[in-house]
Every structure is written in structure tokens, then in C-alpha cells.
Symmetry: C2
Subunit: 415 residues, 2 copies
């Protein structure tokens, strides 16, 4: 390879890369980043639901220790036994997770669950199955607490296929049980499949092993599925770069972008999974670093950003633990397409479905509260054009790491 | 968590786990594994196409250095320039990758490409576009060689969307170019997205960083996309456990199965990707360890096993580098369903498509050469039942790591 480097010619295209001339020295860009980082760490603690004094009650869950989860289950079952012995039969009180019971709270910048709940009596033909499933899930979680092991939702389903019939049913009751016990799903020791990877200026412990993410080559470190065994985070990074796609992540990892501008690079390779969301939140909370997001310029890019930022509706009861507040939209933004002169053939026409999704997003509170985002999304829907992060490769494979991102950082061009 | 362990009661189910009584001491099982490992490392080098003296010519590619790839491209283009200057126009000679040109060679135990090739002249309306694309891909690969960087197929597509129109077109020509230059796709520095993870008794270097896979917690190490930067493999493992699914991988990683029976655990989380296939082959070749596969008991489980073992038809020109010979089918096998008394409700009926895929597999040479596999697959098609690895959770979440796998190893129950 040294050989091929010697043969490197003066690259004709090097000087002509659009906007490359606008780039200042890295040291100047670093100053910008230090300001960003300082402003991010000086921000006080995020508000809690209690401090807000909302006009309604909110249901939120917390991380509980295994032994607390175990006691909570035991108390619940004792109460039920008393109820049966006193001739009342039994019923579970289950918090409602329906859309009508969800609310976006601007002060918190996330979706929360209100306190409506419903009864799930055993002695009722319409709820007997669900209450049996609930009891079984409680029993299985109790076993997990005793053994101190983690399993996936799929494992849980397979312990009693005859009763659950379909994984959708055991999954839904699992979320119910989280709500009922007032704890996060990770506290139940039920974990999602791991998908995310992390690389860059971060050291942390995974199940007792110390991991140095600057020494993880190009592949990076797989993000562990069980956040409760992650700890001791240390970093000299100035920001976290959240990347939607694998390909962009690889470019940045190979170019060791984190050594040019100290940062931590993380991706869930598409849709954010629970493990990556928990990991991102933990980094943000413990290291107090600003988070900059690099996503495709399409409605799904923004949607992914919103799941990291405000949570998914399905798990709104756990939004306090799963969301990372104040994520900045760095790129690729609809206005970048013209600004960076992305050629027409690298832009794709939006489908009807894309446009509908875009318009729906414009109605969402978490988009509306950020005028910059509204403006960008309106532009996208108007031009009916989308583009992937990879579209930047049209100016050369390393345009992303060598020009686009440094210039974005230099110009503080995030929303 | 220590707390919860203290509260652990004598587990009633522990003694009743099916087949647990048949388990011998771990030391006895280790003896079995040492024999397996010894027999695997004493096997001589695999045959090459040259040694076989086949009745036809075979086209195979090799790992070439970046500078060799660069010279090969330059010679090819020089030849074309001469052809144009002498008034002949130009044409690429492109090896055929069609099914008719592929063959399964039992002695090699993999699919190879025969030497048929076709002309792709520029001055012909039916091939002008493809020859233009070929020239452009050659130029882009040449750039990658000069810069010494890796990109994805998607990046490659985006450098000239106008010409390629569709990623399928640039991907197909990329494979053509591999064949034409006689080198592997990884030698072209075009990598696939990374998907696989590895954990256990393995130390290797990734892009210069030393990675100890016993110290990767539960998450494991992401398998690097660029195999040419992987090296220095060391291991005291007795075998490699190739796992189809994420959930089973997690169970084994959390239980640190590799410390009970020294092994390396690897998964591509479903369909095998090129990076994981290359990584598995490298482990097998350098460490001379036997490979045992744990896949779902369905036609796709066997198909996945066959892709690792014999290659995919699409990349048959590269089968020598991508395949890992002599993978043993450990489980979950169709005969295990009855043998391990998997309850009826944890078995799933096969769909029409499943049955068709199963029957098609029975016609494939790489299945036919292993009578044990034929027997198992015939049983599957006959009973019309399939099951996931997770079905074992029906006996408890840790049944896989505590009973099923140890017993399989003890009984040398692989095919």
C-alpha cells in the first residue's frame, strides 16, 4: 500500500471540491466545538415530570434493581391472592398505553403517558386470556430476577407458545407489565437484539470488561443489549455524532474522523433500537456532550431523529429513560441539497407515501417546536426531493469526512 | 444483584430438565472436543482447482494487493487504448457468471465458475451502456487503489447515479470487474456493510488495534468490514460455534459459554454477509479449528449453513475465498425435535414455500454429498415441521447453554 501511495499523483479533483476553500484550519473549527461542548455541559438537569406540576398525573417508569422488581411482583401477587381468598376473584389494573392517553410535553420535549388505566379481570370472557398471559409474564420475569439473566422477547414468547399464540401478544403484555410495575423494560431483564455500534473517544465497561473505543479498528464495538451492565464512561470528546446509516459510519470510522475532531460516533444502522437509544442517553447524561445527528434528507431521517429525541409512541411510558433531549439536526438537510449543489441525478423524487409522512410530521408537536425543522421539512415537501447521506459521494468518497462535516461544524450549521 | 442471588431458592425445575441427567462432567466433554480439534488441525491443506485437473478450465480469483489491482487495471486500459488507436474500437472480455457456467465440485466441496466468457463491445447498441459502466467502475476502483480507502457498494453507486441509474447495475458490473481482474471483491476495496459479531477465545488485530474477544462483555466485537486489515489471530479455543441468530448468540455470550468450553462464538445475525464469511474462513484457516453450526431447524437454516460452506451462486467466482469447508451441522436438526421432546406448540407448520425450498435443497449437490443431511432434510419435508433455536427456551431460558449444547458436544452429535 506504501507503494500505491508513492504512485499517488497530484489529484486534480482535490482543489476543485466544492466548498473546500471555505474550510478554515482544524484548530479554528475545534474552538467552535469547544464552545458547543461547554454550552452543552453547563445546561442544568432536565426537568422531571414532578417539577413541572402538570394539570394531570403522569405515569413514568424508572430503572429498578432486580430485587425491587422481584419484590414488586411478589407484592402484586400477594394482593391478588388476598383478593381471591376474600372471594373477590382477581383483576389486574393495567395502565392504558393508547394514543388517547399519550401526550407530548413541550417543557420536557418528549412524549409522556397520562395516568388512565383499565381493569383486566380474570372472570370476564373478554379479558380472561389477557389476564392469564399477564400472570404468566409476571411469573417468567420473576424467574429472570431470581436467576439474574437476560433474555430476548423472542425467548420469552417461546417459553409458552401455547398460551401466547403469537409474539405480538407476549410483547404487548410485556410493555403492560413494565407500566404496572413502574419499571423500565431493561429492568425486567428483557433485552432487544443488539444492532448498534460505537467507535471513537469513549472508554466504558461492558459486563466488567473495559472497552476503549479508539482501539476498536474499523469495525467498532457492538453496543451491549443490557445497559445495566454498562458503566464507567470516560471521554475527551467534544460531541457525539449520531449517524443513521452504516455506510457513513464506516467512512468516518476508517478515516478515524474522531481523531481529527474528538468525538464519539454511534449508529443503530437504520431504525433506532432500544439498546442504542439507552446507550446514547447514557452517554449524553454521563458525559454531558452535545449530540449532532447525520441522517438522510427524507421524512424517515427526521423520524429517526425524533425517536432518539422524543421517543416512540409505543414506549411512551418509558420516554424519560429512552430519549436523549436536545439532539441537533446537523445534516443532510433539505436545504443542503442546493447549498452543496448536490446534482439532480443524486436526488430522488419523493413517493406519495414519503410526502404524506412528511406532511404528518409537520403536524407533530416535536417538529413544530423547532422553527428551523419546520422550515426544512416544508422545503422538503415543497421540492418533493429527498437524498441519502451517500449522495455526497458524488464529489468523491471522502467528501463527507473531509469537507462536508468539517464545514458544517465550522459554520455551526445545525438546528 | 448479589442480593437476588442470595434469595435464589432451590429451583424445582433444575433437576427435571429433560436429558440433564445424561450430562457427564465438563472435563469428559472437553476430552471429546480435544479429539475433534486435533482431527481438524491434522487435515492437510484443501485441494486447489489446479491440483484437481478438472476436465474444464476454472475461473478463480485471488486476493491481490492494491498495487497489483492498480497495475491490472492500467494494463487493461492500455490494451484498450492500443485497440482504439489501431482502429479496432474496444471491447471488454467479461467472464460469464450465469448458472450455466457454474458447477459444484464435490472434491472441492464448493461451487466454482467455469471459464466461459463473452465480449462486451462498446460499438454495439446492446452493450454500449454496460461497457461504459464497466469503464467507469474500473476508473473508480483505480481511484480507491490510489487513495487506499474502502467504500461500500452504495457509495460506488452514488458517484455516478446518472450513468448507473440503479444500484443493481453498478453491483453487477462490480462482480464482473472482480472476475475480469481475477481478484476478490475485497481486493477492490469495496466492502459490504458489517453485520456480524464475535465473542470468545480469540485475539486479533483490527486496523492495527489488538482486540481480545474474551473482554468484549456481552455485546461482543463487531466484525470489521475490511478483512485485509484483520490479522494476528490467536486462540486457545477447541472449536468455533457458528450461530444463525442474535438471540442464541446473546444467551451464549451472557453465560460466557466460551469459558466453560473454550470456543469462539460468531454470528451474522441471519443471512451471512461477506464480511462474516471472510472472517469465519480466516479463523478456520489460520487457527485450524472445527466449525460447528447452530441454526434453526428449517430449510433456511440449512441454506445459511450452505452459504457459509459452499458459497452463494452469485459470487461463485470467489468461492475459494468466501467459503469455509467442512462445517458440521450441530443443531437444531429436524431429528432433535423428537429426540429433545420439543412440545408440539413450539413447532411450526412449514408453509408451501418452505416445503418447496426444502425439496429444492434435496436436489443440491452440496446436500446430496452428506447422507446425514439428506436424511435430516427428508425428515423435515416429511413431517412438515420446523422450529427455531429459541424453541429450546420452552425448557427454561438457559436450556440451550446448560443442557442442549453440552449434551450435543458430549455425544459428538454433529453431521
Amino acid at each position: 500500500m506504501g507503494d500505491s501511495k508513492k504512485r499517488r499523483r497530484k489529484e486534480a479533483s482535490g482543489e476543485e471540491l466544492p466548498f473546500k476553500k471555505q474550510l478554515k484550519a482544524d484548530s479554528a473549527i475545534m474552538e467552535t466545538l469547544k464552545q458547543l461542548s461547554a454550552s452543552s455541559s453547563s445546561v442544568g438537569e432536565t426537568l422531571t415530570v414532578q417539577e413541572l406540576k402538570l394539570p394531570f398525573q403522569c405515569r413514568e417508569v424508572a430503572d429498578l434493581s432486580l430485587s425491587s422488581v422481584q419484590s414488586n411482583i411478589e407484592s402484586l401477587i400477594l394482593k391478588i391472592a388476598h383478593s381471591i381468598l376474600s372471594g373477590q376473584g382477581f383483576s389486574f389494573e393495567v395502565p392504558s398505553r393508547s394514543a388517547a392517553n399519550q401526550l407530548y410535553v413541550p417543557q420536557l420535549d418528549r412524549i409522556v403517558l397520562k395516568d388512565k388505566s383499565s381493569q383486566r379481570p380474570f372472570a370476564n370472557i373478554s379479558t380472561v386470556r389477557k389476564s392469564a398471559i399477564t400472570a404468566r409474564i409476571l411469573q417468567l420475569i420473576h424467574q429472570l430476577c431470581i436467576k439474574g439473566i437476560h433474555v430476548t422477547k423472542r425467548d420469552l414468547f417461546y417459553t409458552d407458545v401455547k398460551l401466547f399464540q403469537d409474539q405480538i401478544q407476549s410483547d404487548a403484555v410485556l410493555d403492560d407489565v413494565s407500566c404496572m410495575l413502574g419499571c423500565t423494560r431493561s429492568s425486567l431483564n428483557v433485552v432487544a437484539a443488539e444492532k448498534g455500534v460505537v467507535v471513537g473517544r469513549l472508554i466504558f465497561s461492558d459486563n466488567g470488561d473495559m472497552i476503549d473505543c479508539t482501539k476498536m479498528g474499523m469495525g467498532g464495538k457492538a453496543i451491549p443489549p443490557n445497559i445495566d451492565r454498562v458503566g464507567d464512561m470516560q471521554s475527551d470528546a467534544l460531541f457525539i455524532l449520531l449517524v443513521e446509516k452504516d455506510a457513513a459510519y464506516m467512512r468516518l470510522a476508517e478515516d478515524r474522523f474522531y481523531n481529527r475532531f474528538p468525538c464519539i460516533i454511534v449508529t443503530a444502522k437504520g431504525q433506532p433500537d432500544v439498546s442504542t437509544r439507552l446507550f446514547l442517553r447514557k452517554m449524553k447524561t454521563e458525559l454531558k456532550l452535545p449530540v449532532l445527528a447525520l441522517v438522510d434528507s427524507d421524512p424517515y431521517g427526521l423520524k429517526i431523529l425524533s425517536v432518539y429525541g422524543c421517543g416512540s409512541k409505543n414506549m411512551s411510558y418509558d420516554s424519560a429513560n429512552l430519549t436523549t433531549p436536545d439532539i441537533k439536526w446537523l445534516g443532510v438537510r433539505p436545504s443542503d441539497l442546493d447549498k452543496y449543489k448536490i446534482p439532480e441525478q443524486c436526488r430522488l423524487p419523493m413517493t406519495e407515501q414519503d410526502i404524506k409522512t412528511g406532511k404528518d410530521l409537520l403536524e407533530e408537536d416535536f417538529v413544530k417546536k423547532n422553527p428551523g425543522w419546520v422550515e426544512e421539512l416544508t422545503l422538503m415537501v415543497k421540492t418533493k426531493q429527498k437524498a441519502e447521506i451517500q449522495a455526497l459521494s458524488t464529489f468523491g468518497f471522502q467528501y463527507l469526512s473531509e469537507v462536508y462535516l468539517p464545514l458544517k461544524l465550522q459554520q455551526k450549521d445545525w438546528l
